[in-house]
């Protein structure tokens, strides 16, 4: 049986009704994903190539390299079908559900990136699909709601709480507790009960495997650092996993610093999502991990300008790797992320997701500490974020922002 914990993190803190499903999933994961039973892995790779567009390039960023006087390489997950790394996991899990004989797919989504990836994968593999999405997120991510509907998925708005990712996960778990016998829950990051954190990491680890080969081919050696943003941490673990045993490669997980790192305990709000840097240990959504919580144990509302990083928990394996010192947690605030978004767009002709812009923001702030050869994971493209970026840019005086006053008002 696979290990259910990473040091003191992880585990299976879920209602009893779900435990048999987790056992079944663990068994399927071991047989199909680890042992390639019935050629699962071959089919997955083939579909990720033909449908998903893998492998993605590792591209030298010429202007950034010049700016920082070092070699900066971008892992272009923004070029995966759907515009983010999310499909690596969504397609893997929907295919696995099919091998397991499940009849229906459910998933949560925050920004809508995982929801759209799951809806695409479900349409591609002809599976019925329902997505839970907080009411606030539904209203602020309309294009993704339309994309999911176009691919034939139901989108169920969740009215509870503040109506963001945390509530969407709660509601998806409730659906699963009701329909578990026929339904697979495609969780969207390296979070949740075992075996999800391990399995999602394995589906995403293609990012680092490719990047490791590519950088050796293109730069002739392993990088000094790998930098990736971290919400739940799936692009992060995906980028890091192949490098964990390379002790000379530093690994930086960049969280959303939001507008401030302090928690307002009375309001139950953290104006950030810097779980790895500021969180404390506890249990949320099936796992022991680092959390943004009050002293009493209530989970607080997180914040980030980027919806995909806006989560009060983080994957248990990342908590463990931070605790053991292998991964260094850092954070970048809203403003620095917005500047990095504009900078990459302007200098390299790549509009990054706001999530990925946090990783790039860290390179801007700390390039002197990152060594001469750096791999940055561009986890997604930023088309989905244009409206937010325009709105947030208007509120601020951003050095890197262009003038967009071209329309008649």
């Amino acid at each position: 049986m696979s290990e259910s914990t990473f040091g003191s993190y992880g585990g299976q803190y879920v209602p009893e009704a779900l435990m048999p499903a987790l056992e079944e999933l663990e068994d399927a994961y071991e047989r199909y994903v680890l042992e390639n039973e019935d050629g699962f892995v071959d089919e997955f790779r083939e579909r990720m190539r033909d449908f998903g567009g893998r492998p993605t390039p590792l591209q030298r960023a010429d202007r950034l390299s010049e700016r920082y006087d070092s070699e900066i390489y971008l892992k272009r997950e923004d070029l995966v079908h759907g515009g983010a790394h999310k499909l690596n996991n969504a397609l893997g899990q929907v295919l696995l559900a099919k091998y397991m004989g499940k009849e229906r797919i459910i998933a949560e989504t925050g920004a809508g990136q995982h929801g759209t990836a799951t809806a695409m994968a479900a349409a591609h593999l002809d599976m019925p699909c329902e997505i839970y999405m907080g009411r606030t997120d539904v209203n602020r991510q309309r294009p993704n709601v339309y994309r999911m509907r176009m691919n034939g998925a139901e989108v169920n708005p969740v009215e509870a709480g503040r109506g963001t990712l945390k509530e969407a996960i709660n509601e998806t778990m409730r659906d699963w507790a009701t329909t578990v016998e026929t339904t697979h829950y495609v969780i969207g990051s390296v979070v949740g009960p075992h075996p999800f954190p391990t399995m999602v990491r394995d589906f995403q680890s293609v990012i680092g495997e490719e990047a490791r080969e590519q950088i050796r081919g293109q730069a002739g050696r392993l990088p000094d650092s790998v930098v990736a943003c971290a919400g739940g941490g799936s692009n992060t673990m995906g980028a890091f996993h192949a490098f964990v045993d390379d002790e000379d490669v530093s690994l930086y997980a960049v969280e959303a610093g939001g507008s401030s790192l302090e928690i307002d305990e009375r309001e139950g709000v953290a104006p950030n999502s810097a779980t790895l840097s500021t969180g404390t240990d506890g249990v949320l959504h099936g796992a022991m991990t680092k959390l943004l919580q009050s002293g009493d144990g209530q989970i607080v509302e997180s914040h980030s300008v980027s919806a995909g990083l806006d989560y009060a928990g983080v994957g248990p394996e990342l908590s463990h790797l931070v605790e053991t010192g292998r991964v260094t947690p850092v954070n970048v605030d809203d403003e620095a992320a917005l500047n990095a978004f504009h900078r990459l767009s302007r200098l390299e002709g790549i509009i990054p997701a706001l999530e990925s812009a946090h990783a790039l923001g860290h390179v801007e702030e700390a390039h002197e500490d990152l060594g001469d050869l750096v791999v940055v994971n561009v986890s997604g493209r930023g088309d989905k974020d244009l409206e937010t970026v325009l709105e947030e840019t208007e509120k601020r005086d951003l050095g890197a922002a262009p003038d967009v006053e071209v329309f008649d008002s």
Binding site: G11, V14, P15, A274, H285, L292
Partner: protein, 289 residues
């Protein structure tokens, strides 16, 4: 394991038992006190009190709303324990809450800031202080909907040390091997989940209830059925099917949320449910097919 279980005794002596659930602090702790006393008068043999947690994943809309009201009213673990300390009822009391609330109590885990002093004492999550305080206030047991048997060892140990029961849930999906593992750890009673899904009042008794009770027959632990029970008739049918008790929550919370005279109505509802359960126990033995 708790060999002298106050909970098991309460169920056996008052067989068939009525077990009621309310969320503490909904809409205020003072009102909860009056409601619990009403349920006690009406015939409740065991009373579960929910300590509200912000992410109640096992709960349907009714109890979710109750938890929101309780949190908005400022219900904290400490105030919860003060309420329990204050209550004078005959029925033993259990706390129902999510595992994170148990782990954080007394852990000294303050939310940190980036400039925190890394040498600050952090005890880390530990169930022991919660159980100690629970025992001190006279609580007889604990139910944790997001703690399966696999993860229960630390809480089990703390409960054993203080003589508290740790009640486990058996679901319709729980199969043979898991059932043995759960029942070997169970104390007080086995919480038989009547159907898949979340808590919430339903109009009928599910067939899964009958199946579950049949599978549990060989285990010598009292069985109480919850999830969806809302009427005296349900209580009758469930007890007739072999349960030692019924657990009712959402139907009572509907009264808390909607009634103009909640105290009287809760007492009357408890009376109806207890009456139903008793009719089930007095029914003639079903003919063996």
């Amino acid at each position: 394991m708790n060999t002298d279980s106050e909970i098991e005794r309460a169920i056996r002596e008052n067989h068939p038992a009525l077990i009621t659930y309310l969320t503490a602090g909904d809409p205020s702790l003072e009102e909860t006190k009056a409601y619990v006393e009403a349920l006690d008068r009406g015939g409740a043999d065991l009373i579960e009190l929910g300590l509200p947690f912000s992410e109640p994943i096992a709960e349907g809309p009714t109890i979710q709303a109750a938890i929101n009201r309780a949190l908005e009213a400022g219900t904290t673990p400490e105030r919860f324990f003060e309420l329990v300390d204050d209550l004078e009822v005959e029925a033993p009391l259990l706390v129902m809450t999510y595992y994170n609330m148990i782990l954080q109590y007394g852990s000294g885990a303050e939310p940190r800031s980036a400039e925190r002093d890394a040498t600050e004492p952090q005890n880390g999550p530990d169930p022991e202080p919660f159980v100690e305080r629970a025992a001190e206030t006279g609580l007889a047991g604990i139910i944790v909907p997001d703690l399966p048997a696999e993860e229960a060892a630390p809480l089990r140990a703390a409960c054993d040390e203080r003589g508290l029961d740790l009640v486990f849930i058996v679901a319709p999906t729980t199969n043979g091997e898991r059932l043995d593992r759960i029942m070997s750890q169970a104390s007080g009673f086995a919480y038989v989940q009547a159907r898949l899904g979340t808590t919430g009042a339903r109009a009928d008794v599910s067939s899964a209830t009958h199946d579950s009770l049949a599978r549990l027959e060989e285990y010598d632990v009292p069985k109480a059925v919850g999830f969806g029970v809302s009427e005296g008739e349900h209580a009758r049918e469930i007890v007739e099917a072999g349960a030692d008790g019924v657990i009712v929550g959402s139907a009572l919370i509907d009264i808390v949320a909607e009634s103009e005279t909640p105290v009287a109505d809760l007492e009357a509802k408890a009376c109806e449910l207890k009456g139903g359960a008793e009719r089930g126990a007095n029914a003639p033995e079903p003919e063996q097919p």
